[in-house]
Every structure is written in structure tokens, then in C-alpha cells.
Amino acid sequence: MKIFVCVKHVPDTANNITVAGEDAYDDSDVKFIINPYDEYALEEAVSIVEEKGGEVVVIVVGKDAASTTIRSALAMGVDRAIHIKTDSQFLDSSLTAKALKAAMDEDGFGDLIFTGKGSVDTEGFQTPYRLAHALGVPVVNDVSDVSLEDDRVRVTSEIGCGAKQVVEMNSPCVIGVTKGLNEPRYPKVMQVMKAKKKEIKEIVLSDLGIDVDEGKIFMEKLVLVPERSGAKLLEGSVDDQVTELVRVLKEDEKVL
């Protein structure tokens, strides 16, 4: 069995981001990680192959620096990697899907394709659908359980308000996964060291015949979320607190 896992190299949400120019941020001192949802995808793919045999190939569309994320994925037990190199952190997800498809076509048929349900940086939640569309295969997103039976795949997906639906589809298919699917493993040091020797095939985006200018979605402007003003704790008896609250609402905040 051959499984593709599509992974994104994203800034850790714990970072302080400094916006640089209109539409970018200074990433020189920003720590990047595997997109957390993609970790579930990696874990699922690696466990399936451990059980059934085969290989897991990770595909990353990203800048040069994404190699750290690729190494992390390889350390989790992925066999080899394809790195589609881009110049920018932002890419229209239709182009991302196109690039992923092109790389898969070049690499050869995959039985399953895992992605995370979305990325924590741009939060577009588009790629699984666009990729499935490009490949002409079924897709289910927000998946928290997967079971395989021959070429049938049964998945449970979250559809909001705690409700779930169970869907069966044929493979190959695209499965966008979410939290709860599994507990991603921590690689051992030895695996991290071994991962350094695993193959990473590098492809430049334009070599796949993709022109970034053909995208339909562009980053126009990047602004920081305004800082929240501090909470104010009211002290004293309940009466005092209520009086003060009314005063603050009337005089300071002028909402009453």
C-alpha cells in the first residue's frame, strides 16, 4: 500500500509575529512546526503501513525552510519525501492542490491520501477538497476515525454540534483528518538521526508547470489582531462592585 500525506510547514502559534511590509511577516526568528492537524495524518498513515506494509510518502509545498518539517515527518516513520519548493509562505490553495496532484502523478499511484483538515496559519480549509477535485477522487474532511477493508474506506467525520457521520468510499480518496483520530507519536532520537539519511526529492513549483500568477487568491494585506485591553477586577462588597460597574460603563466606557 502506498500512502501520500500532504503536510504544511507553519509558524508555531506561540510565536510573536512582526508584520513586514503590507502582506508578509518577518520569519527570521519564528519557530516553524508541522501543521498540528497534519501530525494526525502522519500518525494514521504510518500506523496503517506498519500494520499492512507499504510505504508512506510525505509531500510538502513550501519554502526552503520547510525541510525541518519534512525531517520531523520522516522521523515519525515516513519513508521518503517530496518537497515542492515555493518562494512564498502563502499560496492559493487551488495551486497547492494542483502542485500536489502533479507531484503525485509524477511519483505514481497512491492508495490513500491523507491531509490535515486545515492549516493553523491561513485557516483556509480548502486544500483537501481542491486536491480531491483535481484528482477526481472522493473526499471527506474533519475525520476522527478511519478503518480500511480491501479498497473500501470507512470514515467517521465531525459535522458540528458534536454530531458525527459515517461515510464509506472507495480508495483512492482524500481524507482530511482532525484531532481525536489518534495520538501522534514522539519520534525517538535514533529515528530523528535516521531521518537525516532518508530521501527528499526536491521539485521547484514552476517545473510542475504551475505559474503562481495564475492563482485566484492573493494575500493583499496582513494585520495583527489588535491587543485586547486589560480586564479590570472590581473589588469590595457586592454593592460597591455594582456601583463601580455602572460608573465604569457610564463614564469610562460610555456604553450606557
Binding site: Y186, P187, V192, S229
Partner: protein, 821 residues
């Protein structure tokens, strides 16, 4: 970024910059000492920068500094009781600590440390490998020799500890403000007048830079030299271990680069790798508050594998986190603390070399004391900011030295090992000649100082460091003997030399010096400089060359301290000017019984004892050169010190060597200088005496001229000290009667089994036939002949007792016959 609505006070007594463990501890202690109007500015949030990711080891074992040992004990105690005071737990957990010794040299080092630590009140016990296994069952102990176990040590949560200190400070009225960054200080008349911030100015008398890895950049804005450098520092956290043994102590094995402790059911492995990586040489980004550095697995892999092999189960565990965060390191692995020489009332406490949590409480207490009273009250000679020079702030210097300094933390600390990186920064005019002579150089305040000379035809290297006798001890012995019996040449160009000139120069120097330095022309006077408490700020020589021209010569380590002290004590209306002549004069010392004959060969000046007596100084002609020649000695022999214009140094050196042939002149290095001065009992400030000592206790009472015409700084304190009667504390020499053992530092002297003090500096004295050290004898009773000769003296060296002899008078030539002949 949008500015928060912050009410900044307009005035403060003290403004602390930086809300890490250090800044919060200073704030806490200032508050507790009753200092009013203290403001702490934190650029982002408390603990951001380095404190938040500190490992939190609260270890008292390991230091050979009395000051540091006391501070470590204080820290452990404070973390223990802060919760009761503030209601906030510091997370202190006394799980215990074990230092593992995996080879003979480490065992020797830790036994020496353990002996000294016990003397300082730290309850450390040597335990067997099996006992290590019992306490830390996950460790492999088959190749260990012993462990050093402190049951009461443990760990603290650095964030909680800092927050508790901050709460304690707030309770005492300290104003802690987050989200405000300092952008520089306001200066007025050479002193601090306020602090500029992103939210306006604060008028303030004192500022304390506790900005951790940003301290250097913040200092630079105001021209303050704070040469610390951030470096990568790693730890790894494993996933949980099923049935992890409970209550495991912290285990440290420096030979495997690691320390190990439990962390949320798994293990934390901290690393101090031998070759390290400085980070952000051009400056740490402003917003790197809780940032992490991408781990360099390629570089760290081999070190990590070695560290994990000590606790093999870690090889089978997943890595939850391989963390890399920046910590600040300094050129000599000592912190940067004290009042900046460049600006009055600008204090610094930074560059903690990974021991901020351990040292923070004690340093905070000390700084609070220093700020409030002007007196630190502990020995600061090892970490005073003024020991550092501006060239050490250079990009290249930091780049090269930091590679070595972090790694030094876990190296075996051999006694005679010198830093190997960033070398060759300063070379004397005769460096190449000394090299031709086979000099082995060591780092002497950045200068290449000849330590010893190889015998003809042999290699000038140290193959392997040792705690025992090295191959080059024979060279050292030969140089020592040549100094006693014949004549030696020593390059002392690294000494700090200052000209003090002007109509009031003599008056000013006489006021700063305890000795009478202004009476006689052409005379050199050895004198201490005291502070108003009557304690030693420096010791040095003052030579009166002309009525209005004086030469002050100070040891290399005290260069900036002495210069600052001198300048700061010249009254504004005095006509006295200081010029640093260190680079202008090379200094060559010609010492030994044959030195007069040799000098007479190269000059027409009459060198006889009658016309050129001890302490005489004058300019003489040597060949085509003019040199200042003073009859002085630091080895206890007839001898001369030559101050030669740098450009004429090679010429004079050539003449000395040529004329020296018939006297079999030997080159001698700093090892010989050290052993010769040690047997004569000459003091070395910063090594065997410091700012907590007074001249009487250190045996320098003869230099304190209470009856001289002028007043001097510290006079009142000296009068009071004398009035107190016989001394109960005196610097003494100790000689090991067995010729075999060696003394380095921190060996314990006992009288009738009772601790009397520890060796502050030691050497091997070939004339006396044994190792000799200087120590502060503190019996808490009167020290008279009956006391000295009445007891059974012994010295504890690495846990073994040896018979010893103790003397207040110099063991060598106590009547000074050799130097005055």
C-alpha cells in the same frame, strides 16, 4: 504596536530594567531593605527571555567560591520559604542532587569541591555507584567511580520562583510595570539622572540593567561595556515512562554532557556540550520573548547520543520536545555585575552563564545592599564588571570565545588550564622573542603571558591536563631556582600603568593611598587603596617621578577598577590627570641575586645599593633607549622593574639577553612568578585578598600610615579597626610538610581538627620544598605565637589530611635581607 495605557511614575530612586529572575530578585530585596520608589520595567512579560525556559536546578554543590556557596544556600532557603511569605509557591521540590564522577580526574575535582562545600555548610556526601543506582535506578552506573549527593538540593519552577519574588517585591511597594521597554538612560554630570522608555522618561538616581541576553545591546546605547553573548542551550524532554521510579534526584554527569531529572512522568535531559554555538552575534531581536531556536540536530546529535547513553531507557523513548533556547554567556564564565566604570550609578547584573536561578536570590540581595549602602559586602573581584575590557565586546571575540565558554561548564576544571579561543588579542613588544625562547603562553587579561619556558629542543605544548605533576614542572622548578640563585627575565608588559600628573597629583594620590606616596622623589611605594569602610579596593605601587608626575602600576585584572577608582576620587576642582600608559610602556623585570651585576653591564648609572637602594626609581639609559628603572621585587629578591617605551623594548631586551649570557640569565614565566611570590608571602589582589578584607588582616598594616600629614580614604575605619585590639582574622601562609601534594585553591586548613580557613591561592614553593598557600585564618580567637605554635595543623586536600605548618610571617626571608642588600 499600539501603546498600552500605562501610568509611568515620573520619579524613582531605582529603576530596574528587566523582569527575569535577576531583576525580580533585586526588586524583592530592595523592597525588603526598605528602599522607596523602586520601579521595575519589563519590556514584555515577567520571565520572558531566558528565565521562562530555565531548567530550575537548585543545586548547592559545585562551586569553589565561598561567595557563590553562600549565595546558593541562601537561594535554596529563600525558594523554600517564599510561599509562606507571598502565598505563591516557587515549586521548590527537594528531590536531591547527584554529581557523578566517571573518571579519576573528575573524582579528584569533585572530592576537592565536596571538601570545600562541606566547609561552606553544604551537606554533600560521597556515595558509591550502587547507591547512585538505588537513588536513580534508570542510570547506568557500571563505569562510574562515585557520586556526590546533596539530599536537600532539588528543583524549582523558574517562572513560579520569579513570580513569587515579584509578588514579594510588590508587597513591599515596588512598582513592577510590564510592557514598557527602556530605550536608554539620561545622563547628567557623569552619572545616571533617569531612564528613557517607550512610554516616557523616569527621573531616577540609579538604574540596574538586568536585561539578560539583551543587556549588551541595551548597554551599548549608553556606551556601557557589557560583553555577554547569547548561546544555544538545549534540553530534551521524553515522553512518559511507565512506572517511573518515584522521587528520583537530579543526576548530573558532566563527562556525558548531561543532567537528568524527572519531568511530567518522563525525563528531562539537559545538555552542556563541549563545543557550543553563539546565537545572534549581531543582536538579539527585541521581540524574542518566549521564542525558541530551531534545534540543530546535526550539531547536537552526537552529544545527545552520549548523554542518553548514561540513562539508556531514554534511547527507547519518544522525544516530546527537543528544546533550544538562548542563555547568556561571558568570556570567563563569571557573571557581569556591579557599577559600570563608564557611568556612575549604572549597575549591571547580567551574563549568568546558566546559573541565574541558583544565583539570582543571592545576587539580588547583594545588589540591593550595594545600591543602598555603596558596599556589596561580599567578594566581588571575580565577577565585577570592571574586569572586562571593551575589545571583549567585539563581534569576533564573542563569536570565538562563546564557543568555548558554555562548554567549560561541564569540562573537568584542571587547575592550570587557560581558555584557548579568542587568543592573541594582546601581545607584548617582545612576544616573538619569548616564543623563540620556547614560551608556553596563557591568557592574562587578554595578553599572551609567558607561563613557563620549554627546555631547549622540547615541545611547547601541554598534552594532557592533570591534577598532579605535569611534564613542565621541571621547567618551572628550574625557573624558580634561577630566580632565587641567579637572575631571571620576566615580561610583565600586561601590568596596568598610569601616569598621574598635575599640580595636585601628589595630593590626590596621597588622599587615595593609605601609604605615604608623596614625600620622597624617585621613590616607589607599595600601597593599598581603601574605601571608606577601610576595605581594600586595590593594591599597587605609586612612584613619584617628579614633583607633579607619578607612575601608578596595578595588576592586570584590576586595570579598569583601579583606573575608575582613581578618576572617581579626583575632586572636580583638582589639577590632576590620569593617562593610561599600559600600551606605551613595555615592562621587563630583571630579578635575582645577580640582577645588579647584569644591570650594571648595560647602563652607566651607578646601580650600587648606596645610590640605587631598594624602592629607588629613575630614568636610566640603556643602549639607545631611555627606560624607567625601579628597584622593586615581587619575588623577594634583589631586582629591577624596567618600564620601556614600547618601541624601544626589543632593543633593551636584546641588550639584556646579550649581557645576560655571562650570568646565565634565564627567562622565567608566570608560574615561577607565582611560586616565588607565594613563598615570600606577597599578596595578589583578587586571588588571596579582596574587597571584604582590610589591610591589617591581610598583613598590610605596615602600609597604613595613620600618622602621615594628609587624610586618606578609609583612615577613620582604620583607626576604629586598630582600636578594636588584637586581630582574630589574619592572612597566613600554610606549608604542606609532605613534598608530594599540590595546592591550588580551596583546600581546608585545620588546627586540632577544627576548621581554620581555606587556601585562597596556592603554589609549589621549591625553595621551601613543598606546596604553599595563603589563607585567611579565622579562629575567632586571638592569633598569637601560642596559637600558631600550640596546635596541630593539618590540611585537607581532596579528602586526605596532611601535616602542615602555618606562619603569619613570610616563610621565606621574613627579615627582607635579600631585597635590601
Amino acid at each position: 504596536m499600539e501603546k498600552k495605557n500605562i501610568n509611568l511614575p515620573e520619579n524613582a530612586n531605582v529603576v530596574i530594567i528587566g523582569g527575569g529572575i535577576i531583576g525580580c530578585s533585586i526588586a524583592y530585596h530592595l523592597g525588603h531593605m526598605g528602599c522607596k520608589d523602586v520601579v521595575l520595567l519589563e519590556r514584555d512579560e515577567l520571565t520572558s527571555g531566558t528565565t521562562w525556559h530555565a531548567a530550575g536546578l537548585m543545586v548547592t554543590f559545585g562551586s569553589l567560591s565561598e561567595t557563590a556557596c553562600e549565595m546558593r544556600l541562601y537561594a535554596r532557603d529563600l525558594y523554600n520559604r517564599l510561599e509562606a511569605e507571598t502565598g505563591l509557591s516557587t515549586g521548590f521540590s527537594p528531590v536531591g542532587f547527584i554529581e557523578a564522577a566517571s573518571n579519576r580526574d573528575r573524582l579528584e575535582e569533585y572530592r576537592r569541591v565536596a571538601q570545600f562545600n562541606r566547609y561552606c555548610g553544604i551537606d554533600v556526601n560521597e556515595i558509591s555507584p550502587q547507591e547512585i543506582k538505588d537513588l536513580f535506578p534508570l542510570a547506568r552506573v557500571d563505569d562510574l567511580l562515585a557520586g556526590f549527593y546533596v539530599k536537600e538540593d532539588g528543583r524549582v519552577n523558574p517562572v513560579d520562583g520569579t513570580m513569587a519574588l515579584a509578588r514579594g517585591a510588590r508587597n513591599k511597594g515596588v512598582n513592577i510595570i510590564e510592557g514598557v521597554a527602556s530605550t536608554g538612560v539620561i545622563k547628567k554630570n557623569g552619572r545616571v539622572a533617569g531612564v528613557k522608555t517607550t512610554h516616557g522618561d523616569i527621573q531616577a538616581d540609579v538604574v540596574v540593567n538586568c536585561a539578560g541576553m539583551w543587556a549588551r545591546q541595551i548597554g551599548e546605547v549608553d556606551g556601557i561595556n557589557i560583553p555577554n553573548q547569547a548561546a544555544e542551550h538545549y534540553y530534551l524532554i521524553t515522553e512518559e515512562i511507565d512506572d517511573i521510579p518515584e522521587n528520583m534526584p537530579i543526576l548530573e554527569d558532566p563527562s556525558h554532557y548531561g543532567y537528568y531529572r524527572e519531568e511530567v512522568g518522563g525525563l528531562m535531559i539537559g545538555l552542556f556540550e563541549p563545543v557550543c554555538a553563539p546565537w545572534k552575534l549581531n543582536g538579539v531581536p527585541d521581540n524574542f520573548s518566549f521564542g525558541e531556536i530551531e534545534p540543530d540536530w546535526d550539531r547536537m546529535g552526537p552529544f545527545l547520543e552520549k548523554a542518553m547513553s548514561r540513562v539508556p531507557i531514554t534511547e527507547e523513548l519518544g522525544v516530546k520536545k527537543f528544546f533550544c533556547g538562548p542563555e547568556s554567556f561571558t568570556a570567563d564564565l563569571s557573571a557581569i555585575i556591579g557599577e559600570a566604570p563608564e557611568l556612575k550609578n549604572y549597575f549591571v547584573t547580567a551574563g549568568l552563564n546558566s546559573v541565574g536561578i541558583i544565583m539570582g536570590p543571592g545576587l539580588g540581595r547583594m545588589m540591593a545592599h550595594w545600591i543602598m549602602t555603596g558596599n556589596p559586602e561580599v567578594d566581588i573581584t571575580g565577577f565585577n564588571i570592571d574586569r572586562l575590557h571593551t575589545y571583549q565586546n567585539n563581534h569576533d571575540y564573542r563569536k570565538h570565545r562563546t564557543v568555548e565558554s558554555l562548554g567549560k561548564v561541564y569540562k573537568c576544571h584542571y587547575p592550570y588550564e587557560s581558555m584557548q579561543t579568542a587568543r592573541g588579542a594582546k601581545k607584548s613588544a617582545i612576544y616573538d622573542r619569548l616564543k623563540e625562547q620556547g614560551a608556553y603562553f596563557k591568557d592574562v587579561s587578554g595578553w599572551e603571558g609567558a607561563d613557563w619556558f620549554a627546555l631547549k629542543g622540547s615541545e611547547v605544548t601541554i598534552e594532557k591536563h592533570t591534577w598532579g605533576r605535569d611534564d613542565w614542572f621541571v621547567n618551572w622548578e628550574a625557573e624558580h631556582k634561577a630566580g632565587r640563585e641567579n637572575v631571571i627575565l620576566m615580561d610583565m608588559s600586561f601590568m596596568s600603568k598610569f601616569l598621574v600628573q598635575g599640580r595636585d597629583a601628589g595630593k590626590v594620590l596621597d588622599y587615595i593611598s593609605a601609604n605615604d606616596v608623596n614625600s620622597q622623589l624617585n621613590r616607589v611605594t607599595y600601597t593599598p587603596w581603601l574605601n571608606k569602610y577601610g576595605k581594600l579596593e586595590a593594591d599597587l605601587t605609586v612612584a613619584k617621578l617628579e614633583q607633579e608626575k607619578f607612575l601608578v602600576v596595578v595588576t592586570d585584572t584590576m586595570h579598569r577598577h583601579a583606573e575608575t577608582w582613581l578618576k572617581k576620587n579626583i575632586p572636580d576642582d583638582s589639577h590632576a590627570f590620569v593617562t593610561d600608559m599600559t600600551s606605551a610602556y613595555a615592562q621587563i623585570n630583571i630579578q635575582g641575586p645577580k640582577s645588579r651585576e647584569l644591570m650594571q653591564k648595560i647602563t652607566l648609572t651607578d646601580m650600587s645599593n648606596e645610590t640605587f637602594p631598594y624602592r629607588h626609581i629613575e630614568e636610566i639609559s640603556i643602549g639607545y633607549a631611555k627606560a624607567l628603572c625601579g628597584r622593586m621585587t615581587y619575588i623577594g629578591e634583589l631586582g629591577y622593574e624596567l618600564f620601556i617605551p614600547t618601541e624601544q623594548a626589543l632593543h633593551v631586551y636584546g641588550m639584556l639577553v646579550e649581557a645576560g649570557k655571562e650570568f646565565h640569565l634565564s627567562h622565567a614565566g608566570l608560574k615561577a612568578l607565582g611560586s616565588l611570590r607565594m613563598e615570600k608571602g606577597y599578596r595578589d589582589y583578587g586571588h588571596d585578598m579582596d574587597n571584604t578584607d582590610d589591610p591589617f588582616e591581610t598583613g598590610l598594616g605596615f602600609t597604613v600610615k595613620l600618622d602621615k600629614a594628609s587624610d586618606f580614604i578609609g583612615k577613620q575605619a582604620c583607626i576604629e579597626k586598630k582600636a578594636k585590639g588584637p586581630l582574630k582574622r589574619r592572612l597566613a601562609q600554610v606549608l604542606v610538610k609532605d613534598p608530594e601534594p599540590l595546592l591550588y585553591h580551596a583546600e581546608i586548613i585545620t588546627r586540632d581538627g577544627k576548621n581554620m580557613g581555606y587556601v585562597r591561592s596556592g603554589s609549589y614553593c621549591y625553595t621551601l620544598g613543598g606546596a604553599v598557600g595563603l589563607f585567611m585564618l579565622e579562629p575567632d580567637e586571638m592569633i598569637d605565637d601560642a596559637f600558631i605554635f600550640g596546635g596541630k595543623w593539618e590540611i585537607n586536600i581532596a579528602g586526605k589530611l596532611y601535616p602542615a605548618m602555618v606562619s603569619i610571617k613570610p616563610l621565606f626571608d621574613s627579615e627582607n635581607k635579600k631585597i635590601k642588600c
